[in-house]
Amino acid sequence: MKQVRPLTILNGRLVTHGGIADGAIRLVDGTIETVGDATAQDGDDTVDAGGKLVAPGLVDLGVFAIDKPAFHFGGITRAALMPDQSPPLDLPSRVSYIAKSGKPDLWVHPLAAATRGLAGREIAEIALMRDAGARAVATGRGWIADSGTMLRLLQYAAMLDMVVITHAEDAALTGEAVATAGEYATRRGLPSAPAEAEAIAIARDIALAELAGARLHFRQVTTHAGLELVRAAKARGAPVTCGVTPAHFMLSDLATVDFRTFARLSPPLRAESDRQAVREAIADGTIDVVASGHDPRGPEDKRLPFADAEPGMAGAETLLVMVLSLVRDEMIDLARAFDLLCSAPARILGVEAGILQVGKEADIAIIDPAKPWIIQSAKMAATAGNTPFDGQPTQGRVTALYKGGVPIDL
């Protein structure tokens, strides 16, 4: 569906790159026409934002399922789909099918599987997948163990100017682990691996990316040691970015008490000191992106013994509110919150969205940042309610959402 008439959103607090400013925004033909001093013209539809935040629609860099109701609830208008599908996104035909699957009211950006079957051995046809609509290359939930394969992948992706999104856990060290080594895993007798598995993977991949001249994005960096490596790489100008999901700045491995499988994640929850390190890295800019990692899993995958359950959480509906909680905690300001959620992921993916700027796609969320609500697993819009935040009171709600200037029913 195309935008029929221009739309002017009045009386909003606009989230722009420079900061928050009162004003209006005019959307014409699916793109942003004016930001700030816009006025409604004859024939425009108008909406009064009533002093609420007017922000870009969220760009979710790394989800495992297309789950439109959950994305819309969370203000997400674009989502990058991880290649870990069944079958994996390792063929151009699958990529082109996925690229069209959410339109018109949700744009799905497929991430091409780096290797065939995500097995980590043979490089997949990533140029063909790029031309079929893949926005980046991803190693999926696994690490490419073979350093030679990883180097050749990075060189090839650099040639194609595609960013490589990698999972940072040394597979030989993690093995069958489902928890981070430490007191809590030991008390529960859970197979565990040292947190250093992450830093080892990051150190290698940064070295190879610098060698290859490739752009590298770590989807989740969750440890102090890993973040230090990214910080140092950025300081010397390496084209490295990284992200995290809210679970790793909200929760530590204490949340796995009583074998709660909703807290079984990949990578696993870390020690409290690592959680604090993630929060500091968000504050100081080391972490570029916060993504949902949305992975709704029903009881057949979660109502199992901890080690037998699938990893992942339904995160789309809670992504925004968890980042807004960092604003309330005064770790970041509002403009930075939406940089983490919108403009940084859009930049990494190379899409013309994620920012309130003339000429960009008219993906807009109107948000009441103070509206209180309680996260309830049983009442989620997602296809499954596997959230470790069940029962938690929170604040911030999307009250209206537009994709390409067209309103979406919430």
């Binding site: 093995g175 069958e176 080594a181 430490g182 007191e183 809590y184 895993a185 030991t186 008390r187 529960r188 007798g189 859970l190 197979p191 565990s192 040292p194 009583d258 074998f259 009881p299 057949e300 109502r303 199992l304 013994p305 901890f306 080690a307 037998d308």
Partner: protein, 341 residues
């Protein structure tokens, strides 16, 4: 018939269900010191019964006990089966290898199925940590954990404590608990639920527990559970009262943890010579099955005055009888234990 109300120790504990206010026996970690002692004291009457020519009591007559073993076991299954039968219960064994689990049924569905058959107690062994609790949450009857992954094996720890108490009493060292004792647990601590349950149980009863293993077989952060960590077995044994040996759980190992069984024996095998580092009369324990010549030499395992390994097996039946008795009291409507559910 041995009525529970006439137990000789009855006066030492709160009346009725307050002595053991748990529906299930999932782990030692859930128990208070006095609850552990209560189970040990309850087991004494069954130790006595088991030494009679006629080893039978109809306390659990008419009740159905299901032993649902999702992981292979010989001795624990046999011990639970004998315990149930000696108390007159109808005991049924379910082996995962021959069950619908192999046909893709989920653990929860299996639990619901067992529950629908109106079991009065279910004994669970499962290869995943936390599995027993998961089942317990879905059924209406008491659940006993016979080992879940690398988490807990509470009846093993209780029987070890009972065997140790008996051995000490026979020597005239009749103590209330294990205060002052130094107990070394040596072997594959990482993969051992027995080590975790014993650590919790022995500490609750006042002992100092030293854990000894090569670093790869020692779980990270176990010091936080109060254990003293050793890698040198001779140092660990110095002045110890008890050496408890564990086997290498090669079936749980992915990758190489030790270079060879021979080398393991060289560093961690309990030989007569090495045992001399401990106190002169130190006791030797092993939960079985033993790998003679690897973690323990035959001449140590078979020392009549020092090894209490067969005693442990004997106490296992008594402890499991006590656990089945105590946990089914509510359902049987025993006086002071609440109405029939």
């Amino acid at each position: 018939m041995a009525s529970t109300e006439t137990s000789p120790h009855a006066a030492r504990y709160p009346a009725g269900a307050q002595a053991f206010p748990h529906r299930d026996l999932i782990g030692i970690g859930h128990l208070e010191r006095h609850e552990i002692l209560f189970l040990l004291d309850e087991a004494e009457q069954w130790v006595a019964l088991n030494r009679q020519p006629t080893k039978h009591n109809d306390l659990l007559g008419g009740l159905t006990v299901i032993n649902a073993f999702f992981e292979n076991s010989t001795r624990t299954l046999l011990s639970f089966e004998i315990a149930g039968k000696r108390l007159g219960a109808d005991v049924v064994n379910m082996h995962a290898a021959t069950s619908s689990v192999k046909k893709g049924e989920t653990l929860i569905d299996t639990a619901i199925t067992l529950n629908a058959m109106r079991a009065d107690a279910i004994v669970i062994r499962h290869g995943s940590s936390g599995a027993t609790q998961l089942i317990a949450d879905k059924v209406d009857c008491p659940v006993l954990n016979a080992g879940d992954g690398q988490h807990e094996h509470p009846t093993q720890a209780l029987l070890d404590a009972l065997a140790l108490r008996h051995a000490l009493r026979e020597r005239g060292e009749a103590a209330e608990d294990f205060t002052g004792l130094v107990i070394v647990i040596c072997g594959d601590i990482l993969h051992s639920r027995v080590a975790r349950s014993n650590l919790l149980c022995l500490q609750a009863l006042g002992a100092t527990v030293r854990l000894c293993a090569p670093p790869a077989l020692m779980p990270v952060g176990i010091e936080a559970m109060g254990a003293e960590v050793f890698h040198d077995f001779d140092a660990a044994l110095a002045g110890a009262d008890v050496a408890m040996m564990l086997r290498l759980q090669t079936e749980r190992m992915s990758g190489q943890f030790i270079p060879s069984a021979r080398e393991y024996h060289h560093l961690y095998g309990l030989t007569k010579q090495r045992l001399a580092n401990a106190k002169p009369d130190a006791l030797v324990m092993h939960p079985g099955p033993m790998n003679r010549g690897v973690e323990i030499d035959s001449e140590v395992a078979d020392m009549i005055d020092r090894s209490i390994i067969t005693r442990q097996v004997e106490m296992g039946v008594a402890i499991r009888m006590a656990a089945l008795d105590v946990l089914t009291r509510r359902g049987r409507g025993a006086e002071g234990w609440g109405a029939t559910a």
